[in-house]
């Protein structure tokens, strides 16, 4: 990852190195009037999309806007209710693509890189590239020929990665390069990248934009799916915006502004989140030289010292898997430091137990809503009281006060605008945004002193995201300290008063968010700020 850290652009979304392709370049892919319903829900309606050779089109939309459905139709995982797909054959003539047939999509030279990698960890990069398209048991000569082909592809696309290393030893960025090489392996003319930067550091993402630009200049057509505005502006020629299954706008990137696109995505003007002045008080969370031993890399912490005061938001930046889980477990009461001290509101924490910390005023918004935040098969009323089962408000001698918990749920649904059928609605049926509102309602209910928010807006649309931000900032204004663990630099810079960076279990103070720039944070996230240059690679070994 070091090769693309060397350039010195100051702001990240500044890599507009793409030259616009000629408007009359041959069409490689055409979606005509695509429509798809799931029961009552319209997933896609009347979508037309044309993709020309050498073009990078960003497909932008909130969650549930229909991006994934559209791509699933393209790949034959779904059959569209109406419309057709046409791809260019070897002679450049458009041919209809048979619906519902993934093999046909591959044969039409369409390649896809999924958001979640689909690599076999115990095989080498090379074997992964062959996997699925070629036989792995080849005579040496055939293997050598394939090897030469892949290497030629690497040289052409600038995607350099060690082919013989086991995938489990590769960094996330390297794995993505393997994925892209795999998608390119069968003479691909259309490449689809689904939320490709979700797991990358800003520098890695920047490298990816360059790769995409290079691939496009070599004649590939790229669909770049995203919901992050700045990366869309950095990486594409043209932006196509979906909202509620419909194509609501198409712009040339050069003429687009962030606000304009955001408005298009949401359908109305997006209020900017303003942090306001902080009135910082006493320390509410102190980690003094805390280490956490664990067999898992993602939990391990080394000599972390951190203070969070009342009335401030401290953003913890870092690529996922660098100790965030450990930090979250400590503050949630799921783990105790192996060494060092953890103080909440000036008092040392000496035993584990979420209840114990909640009683001291700690509220948690867990990273994984479905896994840790809610019990999806239980209803809203039950999920709102689950953290307070011993509370006299909800039970007496172990018998649940049904009426009290019900009216509490109705109040909270109202106060936090949870869109649902009522307190008895099963939580699993709520949308991500409403689920998060429910978790916020539960967390903020008792006016906590300290809020641990892990990826609080991940996967949420802009509307729900704005709502989450507003609630967190309100809590801050009230005097709560907030620990915001996030990978999203936009989010970190919007909400945080101060930013620290976790890398490989070590925490580095980056500074006040108004005084530092993204580049510095990005370098720290990649472990380049301090003196362990190669530690990402080492830690993966």
């Amino acid at each position: 990852m070091s090769d693309h850290n060397k350039n010195n652009t100051s702001e990240l979304p500044a890599t507009k190195t793409q030259s616009t392709p000629p408007a009359e370049a041959p069409v490689l892919l055409e979606l005509r009037n695509i429509g798809k319903r799931f029961g009552e829900t319209i997933a896609n309606e009347c979508i037309d999309l044309t993709l020309r050779k050498g073009e990078v089109v960003a497909l932008l939309g909130e969650n549930g806007a229909g991006k994934t459905t559209l791509m699933s139709i393209l790949f034959g995982h779904y059959v569209a209710d109406q419309g057709s797909i046409h791809t260019a054959d070897a002679n450049g003539v458009l041919q209809p693509l048979p619906p519902g047939n993934p093999q046909a999509a591959l044969a039409a030279r369409i390649g896809m890189v999924h958001q979640h990698f689909t690599l076999a960890e115990n095989l080498s990069g090379f074997e992964n590239i062959l996997l699925g398209s070629e036989k792995l048991w080849l005579p040496a000569r055939g293997r050598a020929a394939l090897r030469a082909r892949v290497e030629a592809q690497m040289a052409e696309s600038g995607l350099h990665v060690s082919l013989d290393e086991r995938v489990s030893n590769l960094t996330v960025g390297e794995r993505q390069r393997i994925e892209i090489l795999k998608a390119l392996a069968h003479n691909t003319q259309v490449l689809v990248l689904d939320e490709p930067t979700a797991v990358l550091t800003p520098q890695e993402a920047e490298g990816l934009y360059k790769t995409v630009a290079l691939l496009a200049s070599r004649g590939l057509a790229v669909i770049f799916i995203s919901h992050k505005l700045h990366e869309v502006l950095a990486a594409s020629h043209r932006i196509v915006v979906l909202r509620r299954g419909r194509l609501v706008g198409e712009l040339t990137t050069a003429n687009a502004s962030k606000d304009q696109i955001a408005e298009m995505m949401v359908g109305h003007e997006v209020p900017r989140t303003e942090r306001g002045e902080a009135t910082v008080g006493e320390p509410v969370l102190q980690l003094l030289d805390v280490s956490l031993e664990s067999s898992q890399q993602r939990q391990r912490l080394q000599h972390v010292t951190l203070t969070v005061r009342r009335g401030e938001v401290v953003g913890v930046a870092g690529v996922s898997g660098n100790g965030q889980a450990g930090l979250a477990d400590l503050i949630s009461g799921l783990a105790l430091p192996s060494s060092g001290k953890l103080l909440i509101d000036g008092e040392e924490v000496q035993r584990t137990g979420p209840r114990h910390l909640m009683a001291r005023g700690v509220a948690r918004i867990p990273e994984d809503r479905h896994h840790q935040g809610v019990v999806a098969s239980m209803n809203i009323r039950e999920n709102l009281m689950i953290e307070s089962l011993d509370d006299a408000r909800f039970q007496r001698f172990g018998v649940i006060k049904a009426a009290a918990s019900r009216s509490h749920a109705i109040e909270q649904i109202d106060a936090y605008d949870v869109r649902c059928e009522g307190p008895d609605a099963v939580v699993g049926q709520l949308s991500g945004g409403n689920m998060q509102k429910l978790i916020l309602a539960r967390a903020l209910d008792q006016e906590p002193l300290l809020i641990l928010a892990s990826q609080p807006a991940r996967g949420l649309d802009i509307g729900a995201q704005t709502d989450v931000y507003r609630r967190l900032l309100e809590a801050r204004k009230r005097g709560a300290g907030v620990v915001l663990i996030s990978e999203d630099l936009d989010e970190l810079f919007t909400l945080s008063d101060r930013i620290v960076v976790l890398h490989d279990g070590e925490l580095t103070e980056a500074g006040a968010s108004d005084e530092i720039d993204r580049r510095e944070v990005g370098l720290l996230m990649a472990g380049q700020g301090s003196n362990h240059q190669q530690s990402t690679q080492e830690s993966a070994l």
């Binding site: 048979p98 047939n101 949630s332």
Partner: protein, 363 residues
């Protein structure tokens, strides 16, 4: 090609009707071997129905059979709700019976009003202890409770055989391996002099209501359900997963133990090593047929008991093997599982003709 799409919701009606439909479908399937045996299935089922419900004797026999099944069914339902796979109900049943013998066969002299509850408590305690071991191993060392509870069944059965040859042996039994009899004051009263049905049925029905209330209206039941549905969210919310697991284990074992008490102190009057024709294992089937609902368990237990009692009677009349009962119960379970699957997913067939076959088809 078959596609599965998950359904968003399924109605309550469907939840009640599905097991009934599954049972009917199982009967339809079981008609095949009946016809192969040269019998008219309608006649056979008619005889079965008569054997299970035709007349007071048949009906009370069915309920007598259902009594332990309700309790072991509840035991399985409670444990399974907490995702604690207690396959050791048979062993807990036997240890519960041992507990009843230890307390109720003359070691304590007390009036019935004291001795009956004590006998029941003794059996429940033994059953609970039999399940707490595997559950503790699970919470402490993450051992697989399916393996430990299943294997413990054989250990306990051998232990019971040893006790029946030794410590608990009835000296008056002329060498038969059976326990000393339960004293009169510890016997569960019969409901009528003419039939075998005993007050154990009331105990089982009360247990079903209590378990229902416990699961729905108490924080204990709440914690147990939450741990079963999503242990990591429960842990994160401050619910002790170990405590809920151990609580579910104790309750489950105690219920299975109570079933053993009922058979010893309500029906037989003494313990033998073959007192259970597999009530523990059948309890798992009952719980699954009932969709783990404590009230549904009663219905499911009566159904399973009726199949066994009816098949016994039918096989005597038609000389068809009574193993047909096992077959029917097994088929009903399979049908319920498939029915549950169909309730969660919508299966659609996508005809291949809609797709071109030139580029290679996948199935």
């Amino acid at each position: 090609m078959i596609r599965l799409e998950s359904r968003n919701s399924s109605s309550h009606w469907l939840a009640v009707l599905a097991p009934v439909a599954a049972a009917l479908f199982a009967m339809l399937l079981a008609a095949i071997p009946l016809m192969a045996a040269g019998q008219n299935p309608i006649t056979a089922y008619g005889l079965m129905f008569k054997g299970a419900f035709g007349g007071m004797f048949a009906f009370t026999e069915t309920l007598t059979r259902a009594t332990p099944l309700i309790l072991t069914g509840l035991a399985a339902a409670v444990a399974f709700r907490a995702k604690l796979w207690n396959i050791g109900l048979e062993g807990q049943f036997y240890l519960g019976a041992v507990g009843a013998v230890i307390v109720g066969s003359g070691s304590i002299d007390a009036p019935a009003a004291v001795l009956i509850p004590m006998t029941m408590a003794g059996g429940a305690l033994f059953g609970a202890l039999a399940m707490l071991g595997p559950a503790w191993l699970k919470t402490r060392y993450q051992t697989d409770e399916v393996v430990t509870t299943l294997l413990l069944n054989f250990v306990i059965l051998l232990l019971v055989q040893m006790l029946l040859e030794g410590a608990l042996k009835d000296p008056m039994a002329l060498g038969w391996p059976q326990s000393a009899p339960i004293v009169d004051n510890a016997l569960l009263p019969a409901l009528s002099a003419k039939y075998r049905l005993h007050t154990g049925l009331y105990i089982a029905l009360c247990a079903s209501l209590l378990v229902f209330a416990l699961m729905r209206y108490t924080t204990f039941g709440f914690a147990l359900r939450a741990v079963g549905e999503n242990p990591s969210a429960a842990r994160h919310a401050g619910i002790s997963v170990s405590a809920a697991t151990l609580g579910a284990a104790a309750l489950s074992g105690a219920l299975a133990g109570l079933a053993g008490v009922g058979e010893v102190a309500g029906l037989k009057g003494y313990l033998t090593a073959d007192i259970s024709p597999g009530f523990g294992y059948a309890g798992i089937v009952v719980a699954m047929l009932a969709g783990l609902s404590p009230l549904g368990v009663v219905m499911a237990a009566v159904f399973v008991a009726a199949v066994f009692v009816g098949a016994d009677s039918m096989s005597r009349a038609l000389s068809v093997s009574s193993y047909l009962a096992d077959l029917m119960v097994a088929l009903a379970l399979l049908c319920v599982l498939i029915g549950g699957f169909l309730m969660r997913f919508k299966v659609t067939w996508v005809s291949n003709s809609r797709r071109t076959s030139s580029t290679g088809a996948e199935v």
